[in-house]
Symmetry: C2
Subunit: 324 residues, 2 copies
């Protein structure tokens, strides 16, 4: 049996009871270590499971899956994935390979950033498609993620932005020389992500072509009761008029959520956000007052910040008084 087991978001105790029972009876235990990370070391997992854990790199999983699947029709093998195991294509691929070899498979689900982002107060059913932003280089600044974002904005949906992770990358020099020396892992910080978002925003909608003054509040959506027409929602991101949230280490004891306008968040430093993992949410125009209220509790400049002002003047959502 191949068990594909989600580990959740923070530490060794985020595995489910069912997942833990499966791990402890497996002959070999692999840990997928390239799409995400836990906040604890592999050694801590090994102590907790009482098992040796084998790190599975991207190369192992994609090119040497035969080794992972070896004898799995006779013995139990565990493949551990941070978050929920079926969030990324690469793992459904492993399941297909197993099944093609007549190996039984069982998936044990767990929390993922895709549901844990409910901690922002934004409702999961209001999110559109998710996007991923890669590290830009001097010569490579792909903006294809922007197309997806534009589509979500068009209908007022929220957007989860996943930030790049670089694990076991070779430097260009080592790659050319064929040296298997890897750079230290890199995890994109919201400061970098927002810089890149505003860079691509600027490329797509350079200020001279802007229909409206970027700093002036746009007209509020006409009515909250009916669905505003798509034209009500600008499909670009004027920094002073766009609400966003940064999500750091969600589901861990040091979780930090910050909300504000993109312009406000752009003024923060890497240190403000702290260590990985991070993601970002671009708030859609169809935000509900209760979502606004909860998300506003995290706003960067408190009552003096622009969160409530932009919500009212640009998003057309009045702050309501909730009786707690």
């Amino acid at each position: 049996m191949l068990y594909v087991i989600g580990l959740g978001l923070s530490d060794e105790k985020d595995i489910t009871v069912k997942g833990l029972e499966a791990v402890t009876k497996c002959e070999r235990v692999y840990l997928e270590a390239y799409t995400s990370i836990l906040m604890v070391s592999k050694e801590r997992l090994e102590d907790f499971y009482g098992k040796t854990v084998i790190t599975a790199t991207r190369e192992t999983v994609e090119l040497e899956s035969d080794e992972i699947l070896r004898d799995a029709d006779q013995v139990d093998v565990a493949f551990l994935v941070v978050g929920d195991p079926l969030g990324a294509t690469t793992h459904t691929d492993l399941l297909l390979r197993a099944q093609a070899r007549g190996i039984k498979t069982e998936t044990i689900h767990n929390a993922s950033i895709m549901t844990a982002l409910g901690s922002t107060g934004l409702q999961l059913y209001n999110f559109g498609q998710s996007i991923s932003i890669p590290f830009y280089t001097d010569s490579w600044k792909p903006g294809s993620w922007y197309d997806r974002l534009e589509e979500n904005l068009k209908f007022g949906m929220h957007t989860l932005v996943l930030l790049d992770i670089k694990v076991r990358e070779q430097s260009e020099e080592n790659f050319i020389k064929g040296k298997l020396i890897y750079e230290p892992p890199r995890f994109m910080n919201p400061a970098t992500a927002i810089e890149q978002i505003l860079y691509t925003e600027d490329e797509r909608h350079p200020p001279p072509q802007l229909a409206k003054d970027e700093n002036a509040p746009a007209s509020p959506a006409s009515s909250r009761a009916s669905t505003p027409a798509p034209e009500d929602y600008p499909t670009y991101l004027p920094p002073a008029n766009t609400l966003a949230m940064t999500l750091s280490r969600i589901g861990t004891p040091t979780q930090r959520i910050i909300s504000g306008t993109l312009a406000e968040l752009a003024e923060m430093s890497e240190e403000d956000f702290g260590g990985p993992l991070h993601s970002i949410v671009i708030v859609g125009k169809r935000i509900h007052p209760l979502e606004l209220e909860f998300a506003g509790r995290f706003c960067v400049n408190g009552e003096q910040g622009n969160w409530w002002k932009v919500a009212k003047e640009v998003y057309g959502v009045q702050r309501e008084t909730f009786d707690y």
Copy 2:
């Protein structure tokens, strides 16, 4: 401390190790029993936790939250939610109430249908906003969910359709008489959901107004490499030309996924889908060949069905040969 703890999708062992440790030290344990259900009884949870579990109805949570939060600044209280605890507004509301009373809160995340639907082979980041379909009655057939669906279809996104659950509903007669007698719980079956989807589809796009013959394959999306223009994606659901999937009891041992055209799925009976919980996915036009391949493994009429034909002729996605 108020612990809001996700229970995952299937049975008592889907709680995380961290969640279980929290429950066992709590003085009072509430189980939210109106937005979802586990596949096991409350008694089985009680045996597993070694604790009495109090059922929290919608009325308890929304109107009597003071009782749930009583003394929670001094003792530990657990509020258990099937799936991930922050999927529904009602639970963020409880967190806000707790915080307004100076009560510390901790959320322990878990798997939710929103991530477990990766079991379909469809990629989570390709899903647009989720919709919920309520039970239609003779006089009440609200189609507002269709607006959201149309928006997703317009950009080729997949759509998760959550099906209605009725727990502790009174009959009209008992309601009028003020009798607190509740009907047996009802869980919408995909057979009913598809019937209702096609009913509203028909209302929105009655056959005479159809621009194209419903049974004729539409022109395939021009190119997979670039984003097809939105016009390439019809924003309605011709049953013979729309790919969909039913998801039954996801994350449980009797999980069943079926894929096919809406017309094929509409021919199936309630018994084909079995017991609750169920949901449905409407497949977006931007489906990737690897998603198509995985999802096609569940297709209702196998190679003789219309899955591959419609994928090719309507969705414009060629079946590729994957080397496993």
